[in-house]
């Protein structure tokens, strides 16, 4: 394989891992617990910026090329761990503002507004993360530990991303298919009922908000260490919508489905548009990606709102009694799949 092909495949691999981790994080919030997190992208972005400024040396060494805060030049796992912490803390703060007492439709609104505030502030305050131009030339602290050819280094990092994805997959599995996961689904289905049973619905929403923030931070850190750059253009508020589409197309609440949805929507659509047999203006290509993403959402919500791989409905027979009757035929499939 030529070096270019290898780089292409490695890039695809990293993007898929990053998108899968991020979509799982959103699925935990939106798919499993029913929290409409419209500012999801800012947690990924916070992770990316944190990892970048922890990996880079002090801004003064860049000879005026770019300016940013911190610049600690920390060794391998620290920038990624730092990104996860910052993602989680930011999620905690946003969650405290939006989840605690707002009406549910205002929650989504406030999160949109928070997302716009974040982009505006980062773009306007050039001293923070180099403003609209964004941070670039981020060195990958993991790769610099390995004394090997550039090719090998890249593949080691891809392997690390895959390992991260597998670990996150196990954590998600443990969370979603446990008694804790049942409470989360109950919060989604009927938060009053679960409160009547003595669980605090808001506390569970807050918890998944923070867990999702940590995972989003991880995904951003992995991505920025690989591509080496991060700018406000890449995380305008509609970007969150790509992950929503991935979750809806894959199947809300289904781990395998969301992983496939993330690969198809986050990476596949873009690749498909790039390989169109007609030559298009670059800006038209970007527009076409958005149009396809939007159309995918509408199509799935109309034809198959439960996604490609629907969440399995579980029934729990009460000991000593007959199995509960099966009402699933009588419920409208749309209502059942999309009743947040």
């Amino acid at each position: 394989m030529s070096a270019a092909t290898q780089l292409y495949l490695a890039t695809l691999g990293t993007y898929i891992c990053v998108n899968v981790i991020a979509s799982w994080a959103l699925d935990l919030q939106f798919g499993v617990t029913g929290v409409l997190n419209f500012c999801f992208i800012i947690f990924q972005s916070a992770g990316a910026y944190t990892a970048a400024v922890l990996s880079l040396g002090p801004a003064s060494t860049s000879s005026g090329f770019q300016q940013y805060i911190v610049g600690l030049h920390l060794p391998f796992p620290v920038p990624i761990l730092g990104a996860m912490v910052v993602g989680g803390v930011l999620a905690g703060v946003v969650g405290l503002i939006s989840l605690r007492r707002l009406r549910s439709d205002y929650q989504a609104m406030v999160m949109l507004v928070v997302s716009v505030i974040a982009t505006t502030v980062v773009s306007a305050q050039v001293g923070l993360f180099n403003g609209p131009a964004g941070i670039s030339l981020v060195t990958n602290p993991m790769v610099s530990l390995i004394h090997a050819s550039r090719q090998t280094q890249i593949w080691v990092f891809v392997a690390f991303c895959v390992a991260c994805m597998i670990v996150v997959g196990f954590i998600m599995y443990a969370l979603v298919y446990s008694p804790y996961g049942r409470v989360l689904r109950a919060v989604r289905e009927n938060d009053r009922a679960i409160e009547a049973l003595g669980r605090n619905a808001n506390r569970h929403r807050m918890q998944v908000f923070i867990i999702g923030g940590v995972l989003a931070g991880l995904s951003g850190a992995l991505l920025v260490e690989f591509i080496g750059a991060w700018a406000p253009n890449g995380w305008f508020y509609p970007e969150t919508f790509v992950f929503f589409t991935a979750v809806i197309v894959g199947g809300r609440g289904s781990l395998l489905g969301v992983a496939i949805g993330a690969a198809v929507v986050g990476v596949g659509v873009q690749q498909a548009v790039e390989y169109l047999p007609i030559t298009l203006n670059p800006s038209v290509i970007a527009s076409l990606e958005w149009i396809i993403t939007g159309a995918l959402t509408l199509t799935f919500l109309w034809i198959r709102p439960q996604g490609m791989f629907p969440e399995r409905r579980r029934r729990f027979p009460v000991p000593g009694r007959a199995a509960p009757p099966d009402f699933s035929e009588e419920l409208s499939p749309v209502r059942e799949a999309f009743d947040v």
């Binding site: 507004v113 409208s332 749309v334 999309f338």
Partner: protein
């Protein structure tokens, strides 16, 4: 002092534009309960219709009027082709939010694919500047303020004293009771979408006149500020939207004059978040949160 007066002047112009746009947004929301995040795309589309007419030689105010009617038609079509079908398909309110975002993205990017990434501006003659108590306003800005006042009065009177307005208010309070009392729901809903599209159109042309240049995403960027004004007043309340527009418009322009022009909208957003924390239903709203969408 004159700096303050001129900031207030700019604030009132911004508030006039915002008031028209957010009353359109909130009127449609209160009748149909669809949180329409594609409203910004309707604004952009009408802005470009007006651009086409203006380029063809029509003056800007006639272009605005025709484009506004076009906005009403686009808005009704969007509801008829997409939103109402999804509602009758049984999608929940939160599913509808995602549907409107998807629709907005499709519209914005279709416009972007056609007009490209460049910016456009209307062809308007140079205006005389009037000094009104230190506020420096052009004739054009005075006309925008006048249009806003007329539209707000019409909305208020229309909602309060006409049969259609009564039907709209009835639908917004209790849609099933309104339907049971013989309100022709679909026609009233269509009227609400039409009115909202018209206001989107007028707001858009006024906005694009004010900002000078506009592109395929200008409407959707402005939408967040429109929503901030609407939510600040209380979503679903027309008077609230006016108050919200004044608060947002004047505070952003004062922030731009005295603090940082790039961060002026952040001030409005922070005010919104603080108000929502203190009074989660907005300043004026009396809507319950358990309503379902009507299409």
């Amino acid at each position: 002092m004159s700096e303050f007066a001129s900031a207030i002047g700019f604030g009132i112009v911004t508030a006039a534009i915002l008031a028209v746009s957010s009353v359109g947004f909130t009127l449609q929301f209160s009748v149909t309960n669809v949180f329409n995040l594609s409203y910004g795309s309707v604004m952009t589309a009408t802005g470009f219709i007006a651009y086409g007419l203006n380029n063809a030689g029509l003056n800007i105010w006639s272009s605005m009027a025709i484009a506004a009617l076009g906005g009403g038609v686009i808005s009704v079509l969007m509801n008829w082709l997409i939103f109402s079908r999804f509602i009758r398909h049984g999608l929940s309110r939160f599913g509808m939010v995602i549907v409107t975002i998807a629709t907005g993205l499709i519209c914005d990017n279709t416009i972007q694919a056609v007009v490209g990434p460049s910016f456009y501006s209307y062809n308007v003659p140079l205006e005389r500047v009037h000094d009104i108590g230190g506020m420096l306003l052009t004739t054009q800005e005075l006309i925008v303020i006048a249009i806003a006042i007329v539209l707000m009065t019409l909305t208020h009177v229309g909602l309060k004293y006409t049969r259609l307005g009564t039907a709209m208010r009835g639908l917004s309070v209790n849609s099933s009771l309104a339907r049971a009392s013989g309100v022709p729901t679909r026609r009233v809903v269509a009227a609400a979408w039409f009115a909202s599209g018209v206001m989107a159109g007028i707001g858009a042309v006024a906005l694009f006149l004010d900002t000078g240049a506009f592109g395929a995403t200008t409407g959707s960027s402005f939408l967040i500020i429109v929503i901030a004004a609407a939510v600040l007043g209380g979503v679903g309340s027309a008077e609230g939207a006016v108050v919200g527009a004044l608060v947002v418009g004047i505070s952003t322009e004062i922030a731009a004059a005295y603090w940082n022009a790039e961060l002026k909208n952040v001030v409005a957003f922070l005010i919104l978040i603080v108000v929502l924390l203190v009074r989660p239903q907005g300043i004026f709203s009396q809507l319950s949160s358990e309503r379902t969408a009507v299409g």
